[in-house]
């Protein structure tokens, strides 16, 4: 019976089902360990912090689908939050909608830098974004002169926004922030599943040669992925600013790793081509739930969270690799095709030897 259910769900559905089960199991486990655990407060807390992580993870997911990675995403969040705070301190009367668009625009500019370097100059994204991770952060530090953005300098509506509830059901407060984040996440899900422009990301990551053969522009698709990732990180920066108010130069540090974690745990193939946004949302929730719960668990220190995140990523990738190998096991690879084609970067660069 189990197998027939799993067959019906398909690989993505299976992953979502497993993630849901694991989420419930972990919540139940911690509720047996921690007093007063499953409360409306926990819900509010996790839902607000997941809304930020989910946004950047979705951007990261789109990039990873095209066989790339964006390690600069945490710096983009920090930069956007900081610059936005600075702008708002000088121009407190800006319309909220414009502020949100501005945040996404700032983020997209950073994404453009990454995207151009990767797609036009054929540079490996891991190196480019490792460099821009430092570069963007140093721009932030330098332009800040060491000073921080404080709650006092921000317009009231922004601070209020982070605490405003859209509705309350039996003590479960649903913040506007959460609703907006969920709206964006589901819009992206809709875009990636229902639109030709969205399917291109899958096609490029799944088989760059075939994508090119079908007339899909590889470079443009990769650039778009980085733009989306930047814009969503910008939006996350806006929420970050609203939620925390006080922004220092280290704001957003480490978010890049959390987003990679959410993406991989959420079932996006780290080698590109497949994955679902719903899975990424659940992956982000899972990681945040573990993070938040460890802080309150007395038996094990909260300092385990990075160790657990790292091992979780490794475990998820190892499982995917071994599963994929088993699936392919029945088919004989062409002897002249020993090198896995996945080593080809989506930007079209393959290792070349001189002639």
């Amino acid at each position: 019976m189990l197998s027939s259910i799993s067959k019906k769900l398909g690989p993505n559905g299976q992953r979502v089902a497993i993630l849901l089960l694991v989420l419930v199991a972990i919540a139940l486990f911690f509720s047996s360990q921690i007093q007063n655990y499953l409360t409306p407060r926990l819900f509010v807390r996790i839902s607000t912090s997941v809304s930020i992580i989910a946004l950047i993870s979705v951007g990261q997911a789109v990039v990873v689908m095209t066989r790339n990675i964006d390690l600069s995403i945490g710096s983009v969040v920090g930069c956007t939050a900081y610059f936005l705070g600075g702008i708002l301190a000088s121009f407190p009367d800006l319309a909220p909608v414009f502020v949100v668009l501005l945040a996404m625009g700032i983020g997209a500019c950073f994404g453009l830098v990454n995207g151009l370097l990767v797609s036009r100059l054929n540079l490996p994204s891991i190196i480019v974004t490792l460099a821009t991770l430092a570069l963007f952060r140093s721009i932030l530090v330098e332009s800040s002169d060491g000073s921080s953005i404080t709650t006092g300098s921000l317009p009231i509506w922004l601070i209020e926004f982070a605490r405003q509830n859209m509705f309350v059901v039996g003590g479960f407060k649903v913040r506007w922030m959460v609703v907006i984040a969920l709206f964006v996440v589901f819009s992206m899900h809709f875009f990636l599943t229902k639109f030709r422009a969205g399917r291109q990301f899958y096609a490029v990551g799944s088989n760059p040669d075939a994508a090119e053969f079908s007339g899909i522009n590889l470079k443009r698709t990769v650039l778009q992925a980085f733009l989306i990732s930047g814009a969503l990180a910008g939006l996350a920066g806006f929420m970050f600013l609203a939620r925390f108010g006080n922004i220092t130069v280290v704001a957003g540090q480490g978010l890049e790793l959390k987003s990679v974690g959410a993406v991989v745990v959420g079932g996006v193939n780290i080698f590109g081509g497949s994955g679902s946004i719903i899975g990424v949302l659940l992956g982000a929730t899972l990681i945040d739930l573990i993070d938040t719960s460890l802080v309150r668990w007395e038996l094990v220190s909260e300092f385990w969270r990075e160790a657990i995140l790292g091992l979780l990523i490794l475990f998820a990738v190892a499982m995917d690799t071994l599963l994929a190998r088993r699936l392919l096991g029945g088919r004989k690879p062409n002897p002249s095709d020993k090198e896995p084609e996945k080593t080809k970067l989506a930007s079209g660069r393959v290792k070349e030897s001189s002639t």
Binding site: P11, T193, K194, F195, R196, A197, R199, Q200, Y202, A203, G205, S206, N207, D209, A210, A211, F213, S214, G215, I216, N269, G273, S274, L327, L328, R331, K332, N334, P335, S336, D337, E339, S353, S354, T355
Partner: protein, 503 residues
């Protein structure tokens, strides 16, 4: 025929540097015909296909579609006017399902995807092919044949008018080939012109309306299938006097077995391979692409070990599970793919030559004796007449023939007792070819057992003491070198006519 042709190739030539891959090829294709294209390896078939699909542009000549000249700059442009090719290795998106593979980036689709509509249309396209396939399955779960079907379906959805099938049957089972045939027939009944390329003559007689033979980059003939026979096709493909002989050196075989292989099998690749090679003997493996000759060599060399069977070296049963094992038994394998498996193009000539034998050039702590290395490299340069300015330059800087000699030197340096050479002279010029042949003869005279895999029939006939013909993973027959002809080797390789008696 009364109908106007869809596609006409008019005096098409294609040069790469000084070598002509196609010279003055003309032929035409009519709607609804299944047109077979045959020729030996290197006859120019794939260059022709590439010219037809916009991958290569002809150096001279014109391609006419529907009675007017067209320039095809990309595969896209070829697709738009209805020319599409599918290859032995299908090009699909493994993560996407069948329907999406068919319709991805399809010009007729709206930006918003109506999945249910798409599935229905995909089912309709698949139904046109007269096969059944769940359009919701991801392509990664499909067999090779099913992936091909998806590619054909994609072509149909693009209103294909000329469908080129390049060796589509090479890795298919008999049932799958039958299904492919019915797809091709139903396409032709719908007015599509199918260009079918295959080495297997029986497939051509079963399927084609007309057949075109190519040889050495030129068009030899185009005839209605009823006007040709096995013999006439083979004669035209080989193109030389089939009984002609080449100057041959006397055999240096010693009668003492170096290698004995009994019942070697690998699931789904080759089965029941038995043969032996004597010291000083040159045994050539002949056959077509996909005959699995290289796979047998890779099994003997420990890259892809066989599942069952017995390999004996000097009469002692040997277990070979890695190239290291093979090397220690005195086996060397010179790959057909220089660039991929043969030599590291960025590394120096000397270090490539000495790579498998590094222990010979190092002291007990692993320090390399550079002098000894370069002494040996210089010796090989003289012995094999490698033309290189110096031996520290990267191999990639040399010409193809000299690269080939470096690869040979690399394995000769291991002092092999069994040398397996895969396509020893592919892509090198006549002079270098003769030199390589000379070297192989000298080695045999020194008592080395030599196993050659070659698709070049004149080469096989001039070198071989014995010829073993493989076909679809099995040994199809064996000839004594002196009495073999291109005709009877080819017959056995393509599976035409009666089974040859073992000579």
């Amino acid at each position: 025929m009364m109908v106007a042709p869809i596609l006409e190739m008019k005096n098409v030539s294609k040069h790469f540097g000084v070598t002509a891959a196609l010279s003055d090829v003309s032929f035409e294709m009519f709607p609804g015909e299944i047109h077979a294209l045959v020729g030996e390896n290197g006859a120019g078939k794939s260059t022709l296909i590439k010219a037809m699909t916009g991958i290569h542009q002809p150096s001279s000549g014109e391609i006419w579609v529907d009675g007017s000249a067209r320039i095809l700059r990309t595969t896209q442009e070829a697709q738009v006017i209805g020319i599409t090719a599918i290859y032995q290795e299908p090009m699909v998106f493994p993560d996407l399902d069948v329907a999406e593979n068919i319709f991805i980036n399809h010009h007729s689709r709206s930006q918003f995807i109506l999945w249910n509509d798409m599935y229905e249309e995909a089912e309709a396209v698949i139904a046109k092919l007269g096969v059944s396939l769940d359009v919701r399955r991801p392509a990664s779960t499909l067999t090779l044949a099913e992936q091909q079907t998806v590619e054909i379906a994609r072509a149909i959805s693009l209103d294909v008018r000329v469908l080129i099938m390049d060796e589509p049957s090479a890795s298919l089972s008999d049932n799958e080939v039958q299904r492919l045939f019915s797809i091709a027939r139903s396409l032709s009944s719908q007015g599509v012109a199918v260009l079918y390329i295959s080495h297997r003559l029986e497939e051509i007689f079963a399927l084609a309306d007309r057949v075109t033979v190519m040889r050495d980059g030129t068009h030899i003939s185009t005839k209605v299938i009823d006007d040709v026979t096995n013999e006439s096709l083979v004669t035209e493909m080989v193109g030389r006097d089939m009984e002609g002989r080449f100057a041959r050196k006397p055999s240096t075989a010693t009668g003492e077995d170096m290698l004995t292989v009994q019942g070697l099998s690998k699931n789904g690749v080759f089965s029941d391979i038995s043969f032996s090679v004597e010291k000083g003997e040159i045994v050539c493996f002949s056959g077509l692409v996909g005959a699995r000759r290289t796979d047998v060599a890779l099994a003997l060399f420990g890259i892809d070990p066989a599942n069952s069977g017995k390999v004996s070296i000097d009469g002692v049963v040997a277990k070979i599970s890695s190239p290291k094992d093979a090397q220690e038994l005195g086996i060397a394998y010179v790959s057909e793919d220089r660039r991929k498996f043969g030599i590291a193009m960025d590394e120096s000539i000397t270090s490539n030559i000495t790579l498998p034998m590094m222990n010979k050039y190092s002291n007990s702590v692993g320090l390399i004796d550079f002098d000894a290395e370069s002494r040996d490299a210089i010796e090989f340069r003289m012995r094999l007449n490698i033309k290189a300015a110096d031996l520290v330059s990267p191999v990639g800087a040399l010409s193809g023939g000299n690269q080939q000699k470096v690869m040979l030197a690399k394995w000769l340096n291991t002092a092999p007792r069994l040398l397996i050479v895969d396509e020893p002279t592919r892509g090198i010029d006549i002079g270098a070819k003769a030199e390589v042949h000379q070297i192989l003869h000298e080695l045999a005279a020194e008592g080395v057992a030599i196993m050659i895999i070659s698709s070049d029939l004149p080469e096989v006939l001039s070198l071989a003491d014995r010829i073993i013909v493989m076909r679809e993973g099995r040994i199809a027959g064996e000839f004594i070198g002196d009495i073999a002809t291109e005709g009877n080797v080819m017959h056995l390789a393509v599976g035409a006519g009666v089974q040859m008696e073992f000579a």
